[in-house]
Subunit: 347 residues, 4 copies
């Protein structure tokens, strides 16, 4: 199998594997006990040394399971990149959750307790919080870093405006700015990572840690003929209701048609599955620092890693064919009649 390569996480010196493992929905949720250990072990043994979790994943059990397994496997802390996230909180109190200084500090402390660690490598703001001044948010994450509880901080699902606002505050007070954004990026979700964030890649060397590279499984082709039992859409039918409903409508049917065409391309021209093609397509993007995989079985991890072999096959010609099938590329930013010279990639 191809070896997992490492990239820098955004502007930082932290090296993260091109594919990492996330605990969302699975670890500590639908998967508990020994199977969690099996999945993490097979990932680590195959070059995936980055594990992503969040306070909200399985109400804290994801962090607990991950921490337990790391200890049981006897993994060295320095060999791992551990990331977690704050925002949703675990209780319903008025100060449980959000990005107040109170929750950022109290919440990080609780994350570390659940993980059984002294620090994480990156702490993410799991959402923006419009009810907290940005100055308070940046100051609090800076405090967490200076305390030694995290080496870096980052954002998730923030708008470019909000990231710029955080950078502004960091500039003003000489604080640590966020280094990455955890966002959705896949063949059907492109606007934000490809267009909205565009100016941030050059200006701040922003890195993205991608989730939903398979569009919640849609890009595996498994929903082409309905919702099979045991799949994410069946198991978490309430959470994915909107997505599932859309599959019956024009937009959803168009997507399924495209998945079929991509499958043909993958199988006939690249000798791989559409799953591997979809993962490789996201991984190939130079702004991607890591693609976060989800897995409920060790075999899934191994299978997903086959995407590594597909990346070098994505020649300009193949990329053009994919664009022709997708037909959903974002328009460049307006230049109001002036020639396009490095649009948006401002210093």
């Amino acid at each position: 199998m191809s070896e997992v390569k490492f990239r820098r996480l955004g502007p930082s010196g932290l090296r993260v594997p091109l594919f990492s493992l996330g605990g969302w929905l699975t670890l500590g949720g639908t998967v508990v006990g020994d199977p969690v250990k099996d999945i993490i072990k097979v990932a680590f043994d195959n070059g995936i040394n980055m594990f992503d979790t969040a306070e909200a994943y399985a109400k804290g059990r994801s962090e607990q399971e991950m921490g337990r397994v790391i200890k049981e496997l006897g993994l060295r802390r320095t060999d791992l990149v551990i990331t977690t996230k704050l925002f949703w909180g675990l209780r319903n109190g008025p100060n449980d959750g959000g990005l107040s200084r109170k929750h950022i500090i109290e919440g990080t402390k609780e994350c570390l307790e659940r993980l059984g660690l002294d620090y994480v490598d990156v702490i993410f703001a799991h959402r923006p919080d419009v009810s907290v001044p940005m100055e308070e948010i940046v100051r609090a994450f800076n405090w967490v870093i200076e305390k030694g509880w995290a080496h870096y901080w980052a954002t998730s699902e923030w708008s470019a405006y909000e990231i710029e606002e955080a950078q502004h505050v960091a500039t003003k007070f000489g604080l640590h700015p966020p280094i990455a954004e955890q966002c959705q990026h896949n063949m059907f979700h492109r606007e934000r990572p490809e267009k909205e964030y565009h100016p941030l890649y050059k200006k701040y060397d922003l890195g993205i840690t991608v989730f939903s590279a398979l569009a919640s499984g849609l890009l595996t082709g498994k929903y082409n003929d309905g919702i099979p039992e045991g799949t994410r859409f069946a198991t978490h039918s309430k959470f994915f209701k909107g997505t599932v409903d859309s599959l019956q409508k024009e937009d959803g049917l168009t997507k399924i048609r495209k998945v079929n065409e991509l499958s043909t391309l993958a199988e006939q021209e690249l000798g791989c599955s559409v799953t591997h093609l979809a993962l490789a397509w996201v991984a190939k993007n130079p702004n991607t620092s890591t693609v976060i995989l989800g897995a409920s079985k060790p075999e899934q991890v191994l299978d997903n890693l086959k995407a590594l072999e597909v990346i070098p096959k994505l020649t300009p010609e193949v990329m053009d064919k994919i664009e022709a099938i997708l037909d959903n590329k974002s328009a460049p930013p307006p230049t109001f009649g002036r020639p396009h010279l490095d649009p948006m990639g401002r210093l």
Copy 2:
């Protein structure tokens, strides 16, 4: 007639009349010579002391006409608020237009020559320029201000992201930030001024100078039964092609229906025309610093000013009725399940 009130232009101490006069399309364009003087005179005599133009309006003739008339009327410079804008340029050279330091400095100089003035009160960036580093843009406008060629600078049609970026640069180097944004705001165009700019009003006290308060005339009701001769949509049919075409489609027909309903409300409950209602509705918004009127005849100016009498009639009950007719209010920003506490009005 009610007197024209003054508001501060955003965070600045500059007082601008709630209604001002703009030269777009008309002054120097469809209107030249003595009629320009008549229009400006009636405006000034009725309390409108702010005149807005741009290098691109009628290819420089708008500035020339305005400058000529001010001189001929013998108006005191200190009694006037003169604003112009840079971006589009007048020629096709590679450095003609845009927001490079070269064009901001050379262009402002040429604006002042056409106007026959030593300075304008506010110089606007008529569009954003994604090909110029924001640092260069802010430094150049700052230079223009320090040079004494303008008292303030502002933006037009910039995104909230771009305004935040300009503020960031101004913070970093201690430069003059922009004080206002010239944008479209009317009953059918609400997303940007009401939602996108929302966080900027509290954080920076951003002011807006509104154009197209009547949706290019649509909100006067005059297009309810087609495009009459001599109207903007007829005279500038090429420029407004998209808008005119849409009037035939569902979206346009819905708008015309709403204009009819608003007319009924205006006439029966407020004793005014829909034009006055639409102008008053924009003027009432506390974030509006000034509503820029366009006029091809002196009478139009006088008629529009009747909107002043309508503003106090816009009680909460009337505003609710208007919202019910419009049915296009922007959703508040997401709080991801947390209670709405001052959403977005950060810092």
Copy 3:
């Protein structure tokens, strides 16, 4: 003929033509009077609107001739990009020349007088000056910009260390940093522009304005069989003594052999001369903002511009063949055993 394209000058919004015209040795030197006008006219008519000179070129006569011709041709100032340089001075006084505040201010004033202009677009420090504190140098160029005598400042023949030092001072005091470096870059002179400056391209978006793209003519092939009369090496034999002498030695003979091989490649595979190949090779480099041409006849300008047609022919395969002939590519910076991840292109 292919049209001259424009690029931004480094991080700035100033658009410069990919090929520009320089006055070194020729304009005001070996060429005076009407021929200067002929050369500048043909350049301008063919899309070259940037003219580069220096106080030292022909002891000030280059600036005088250029200024005279611009006036006589009636060119609009805004259509032009005029650059000049300071350092060498014109007299021998202790404060004539160098980069003291005194010479930067007095010297710029004299340049403008010779040019008959109110300002230049870019003022270059023609060399570093180790006897002046960098703080004084940056403050003085900043003063010149704030005075309105130049829109930007830049360096020439500075080391990466010195450019970083200037950036450091600019950061410390919030001053204008230099935006470009005027340096030699050609197939036989690669270390500095390709390796030493490498980290500056990403960090500061540094632009380079290249001189000697033809290695003082060596890359035209005209010295393959000796020094023909009327050529630069014959006319300026004293200035080029070192270069001329080296042609007899091993290093020079190797270069001539390479020029022969490049000529064969150019003629047989690309259907162009080695001159055009050498110019296109420099122009293709994305860090090049402009390639400064020298010309003693109008025909030379026209001939050189044929290089524009060669640029698209420089495919990866052709570039590989050129590297194989040159065999002088700089080694990447050491990573001391760590995998190469974006070496040197630091934030």
Copy 4:
């Protein structure tokens, strides 16, 4: 015997002995157990209270041995200056080694554990890391200092450009800049410490802690007739292969000839060995903060310290004779025809 004098370590107030003891190759490597204690004891008893090590020396055993001996000898912590270095790491993981925040923090912690100390006096970056933004590097060393794990930080084998870049970041954010550079300096290796770093000595008061003052033994004269057994070149033949090979070639033979001439000078005019002359010559340089000695036997330490007596004998006349033999002094920086006034010693 002359007493060991103390100098300030660069711009800091830390006083370091003119000769210090380093663990490279020997302590924990070719020397283990009681002999380590003997060497350190004789050094300390003779005025050498500074001990230099690194995470990479003997894969961590150098730090362990040094820590053990300090404890066993019962030396007071305040009487010692302990320095160690980070970069090479001890394992092969992607985040093991280099200068990411992760490795600087995790690595320093592990150094302290191996040394059995709460802090070191100076932590060095053992090499530059072009894959990590300088901002991250300086912030992380600053953190280590603020945490109390080190009193100062410094660099080793960094270019002047990189040191300037670190100073730039420190200025920008008000962080601790590096205070010293650990570099090679000896009669055959002069360019970097004497020329490249020249501007840094005056501007930042940079100190250097010199290694290889004897050019890996070449300047002791012991390799004049081949490679004797038990010497560094024999024991570490693989590491020094390049150096050893060069001794057979013209460059190496020239060096051996010069060592012979220096030996004659030392013995006949100064009454000392060439070893003492070479050490004294480095120590005399006012930019040298300390010369790091290596020793595999206690006697070596004592012998080396005889160099102290030679320093006052290095009169201007003797220094001139040495220069005449060496004939390898770096040229001063170019002043481009201007008189040499404090070249390079800027700011």
